[in-house]
Symmetry: C2
Subunit: 163 residues, 2 copies
DNA sequence: TAACTATTTATAATAATTATAATTTGACAC
DNA sequence: GTGTCAAATTATAATTATTATAAATAGTTA
């Protein structure tokens, strides 16, 4: 944790930004909740626990700054709120997401998976790829199991009826 | 054009929705500007030219409806506005986008390209993929050429100076 | 024609985000 | 240490996109 804070501090200093207490508190929240996909509001509420005097605008500005420095990625899953996602250390690309259409859960995929596709885009479309956003919408493992369960129960009812 | 309107009319009727004059005007705008990625506001302004009495809320509702019926796809390029993109006739998947970080242009890719990746996601993550959103951010062909141009000019200045 | 439902309009409300002005903080010169 | 300055923050207002509400309209069926 401290190590990553240090690294981020250096990244900020490299662009002559400071790691103010407010910014540090924000980064800490992001590190602690790395698995989640927090909205600015979410971050604000969590940061307030550490630094109650912080303002919402500061959180927005901090997230914007971290986003410009590619420390976090800003992503939108179509619910009208921007969410902020820490980039893994050393990752050159943004990771992918699996959004469940049933339960709304969001899973991350760190593997690249797009190397071949990006090559095709570069050669066939002449587009120099710098970054990507890939999100799959579908049914997660858990909800698939639940559906199967329901189907079995429905089938059982059928059998009871006809027998 | 008329043929596609007819098809959309049928798709609406199949779910017992009607193709009202307002809805038809909206669909016509989307068809005419198929290459663009219009926001609700953009659509509203264009529809107003055909049907000046239409209300913004109706446009929103219509786009929402078309989106539910998978006639259009709602997409967000990170500028805080939802954009609406007609699905190609018969397309089962949403097409991909190339967003230029220099000039902001948006190009479309109709090829699927993700078949292999989706297979991997299904088998390795147990996630049943229903749809996807893939956007590449980078430099388009035109801006790359412009950059090369600039580099050449800069080099020429160097040569003039040192000679 | 009357009754009913879906749709639309006009407007208000909400929610997310950004801008503004005043204040605070921290670094550096003296 | 004190004064000065720029950057950052706070509190608040403003803006923007979107959604909700109530009344009016249109189209359909009995």
């Amino acid at each position: 944790m401290e190590h990553r804070i240090e690294r981020i501090k250096k990244q900020l200093h490299a662009q002559s930004y400071k790691l103010t207490p407010q910014r540090e508190a924000t980064v800490r929240v992001l590190l602690e909740r790395e698995e989640d996909h927090l909205s600015a509001e979410d971050v604000y509420l969590l940061v307030k626990e550490k630094a109650p005097e912080i303002g919402l605008a500061t959180v927005y500005r901090t997230l914007e700054l971290l986003s410009e420095l590619k420390i976090v990625d800003k992503i939108n899953f179509g619910d009208g709120v921007s969410r902020y996602d820490l980039r893994k250390e050393g990752a050159t690309h943004f990771h992918h997401h699996l959004v469940c259409m049933e339960c709304g859960s969001v899973e991350e995929i760190d593997e690249d998976l797009l190397e071949d596709v990006e090559k095709i885009v570069q050669t066939d479309w002449g587009f120099k790829v710098k970054d990507h956003r890939l999100t799959f919408h579908g049914i997660c493992r858990v909800c698939q199991a639940a559906e199967k369960e329901e189907d079995l129960e429905a089938a059982a009812v059928q059998v009871n009826r006809t027998s």
